[in-house]
């Protein structure tokens, strides 16, 4: 089974402003006693959304204008904190297919790529410019082009890049170790057949 070659992703955008949004913010630890990552989507930014509601405000992820958005924009050092795989999973299950930030925490970045969810870096200035366009036109179609390293919205292009190894992994459909592992299945069977305890 080959994985999808992720060369571009398109959709509408949502802007969640802030720097250092950590994995506890992305998904609070108490939601980790679970049987599937499936239900995690509803817990994405759970506490921040509840806090906004309590103050009579609306968190961007609860704003009806951005319902169905799949490209998330934020600030710098996004996803810092623990190594939990639950964080990118929660975003992915919420419907996010790409995250754009000024910078990313390393483990969050790696976990996201393994999920096939590109994390691209743009300048803070460009992110704010895009945020303004989304604000005035929430339906604006955004395309992140991984081959070209650019993000397009409303006839405008912005540089949006990933480190070469991650970009390559995504565009060649090798973003998850399982792709490589699956390619070796015949060799796996051969190796297993030589081991008496595997044959029994």
């Amino acid at each position: 089974m080959a994985l999808e070659k992720i060369t571009q992703t398109s959709g509408r955008g949502v802007y969640v402003p802030g720097d250092d949004l950590d994995t506890d913010r992305v998904i609070p630890a108490r939601f980790m006693k679970c049987i599937t990552f499936d239900g995690l989507g509803e817990f994405a930014f759970f506490d921040a959304r509840a806090a906004a509601k309590a103050e009579g405000k609306t968190h961007p992820l609860d704003d009806a204008r951005f319902t169905g958005a799949s490209i998330l924009f934020s600030g710098s050092n996004f996803g810092c904190g623990s190594s939990r795989e639950h964080a990118p999973q929660a975003l992915y299950r919420f419907g996010i297919r790409a995250v754009i930030a000024e910078s990313f925490a390393e483990i969050f970045f790696g976990n996201s790529i393994t999920l096939g969810m590109p994390c691209a870096v743009m300048s803070g200035q460009d992110i704010r410019a895009v945020a303004q366009i989304i604000e005035s036109d929430p339906a604006a179609l955004i395309t992140l082009d991984l081959l070209e390293g650019k993000l397009s919205i409303a006839d405008m292009d912005f540089p949006a890049t990933l480190p070469v190894h991650a970009q390559e992994a995504l565009v060649t459909g090798k973003w998850d170790a399982i792709a490589d592992l699956l390619e070796g299945i015949e060799d796996v069977r051969t190796c297993a057949a030589k081991l008496p305890y595997m044959a029994a």
Partner: protein, 474 residues
Amino acid sequence: MLRTIMSQTLLDKVWAAHAVRTLPNGSTQLLIGTHLIHEVTSPQAFGMLGDLGLKVLYPSRTFATVDHIVPTDERQEPFSDTLADAMIKALRKNCDDHGIKFFDLPSGQQGIVHIVGPEQGITQPGTTIACGDSHTSTHGAFGAIAFGIGTSQVRDVLATQTMAIRKPKVRRINVNGKLSPGVYAKDVILHIIRKLGVNGGLGYAYEYGGTTFDAFTQEERMTVCNMSIEGGARVGYVNPDNTTFEYLRGRNYAPKGADWDAAVARWKATASDPDAVYDDVVTYDAADIAPTVTWGINPGQAIFINENVPLASDVPEKDRATAEEAYAHMQLTAGKPIKGTKVQVAFLGSCTNGRLSDLQEVARYIKGRKVSSSVKAIVVPGSQSVASLAESMGLAEIYREAGFEWRGAGCSMCLGMNPDKLVGDQLCASSSNRNFKGRQGSPTGRTVLMSPLMVAAAAITGEISDAREIFDIK
């Protein structure tokens, strides 16, 4: 040529036999012969498998049990914790759907995954074993290469029976001589971690050997290998020998008849060669080890029972901040004895020390003694098999008479995922393996790790005590 072939470690040999190929990024696609799963880390992996439209490649090499979330007193389903109930049901369904053997609650064979594998004879020398649980290193006691893995890797092993991994280096740890009376395997591993540090094993597999290990029973070897990960080593193993083979003989999944003889011959050949080359070697003298207890918030913060809690100025610079954090959390005073510290809970169990020999050893000493009225003491057999054996030997009665609660099999108070939890800042004398803040279910709860007999001594006196004095062991 002969020379290289004759100077391999067990790790070298097992790795060579299980290496499927080298992956483009340089890591090894390693065949995992035996995959153990439980309710906490497998459901998400099955979900990912489904998302990718994949099946379990070798369902007959995957074995499941339920341990972390099972209540140890009221075992009637549905569990009152609806999340726990959903977790056991999910595992049951996943095992049914994929044709995986499940040592379920009604089987009489359920228990902590690292106790069930060995006692069923599933854990065998010369094999590779993975489980979504860091204490998988336990299985190394049989001369297997066994390690804990993350959720995505559980999925990888389910789908391909392999995972991407880099070969570790090997550190040989020798312990020679005879342990003094009242000193146990638990003290040996706490001592090793104290000496080498909680990160000392990063990048290494630990090979334990020397005359102390030669004389150890299989269960004592498991206690040591269990805590390899607490020293930073993902893998810890002992070379298989007659002790290993005799333990395995006749067990459910052990080879039978002519297959048995062939297997033993193979197993013998997987042991490290006498002139094997190691990346590092350290040696300890068994006579230098005394009953050991932890005073802090990681397993490396350990002292002999008669030592004082170390002063910050006595710990290496890099460990000082953790030491300060530990004094505050543990409510202990640097420079003062740990002996005499009041204990509110005593926990005898876990995959480190919840085996029959642990329960037998303590029972020898507690006959006619009583748990202090200020202590809640529980005994949790590591598996239903351990429980029924212990019950048939009359051990449960001995514990009950002494004032211990005799519970059903599970992880229990080793971690806060089931109803057995510390309350507030209770201090627990524990035979488990982790003393991290909050580990036993209360954010302010305090854990002191020690051998089972030391737990019994604390239960009886209501304070951290030297079991050798309490039970007159000379």
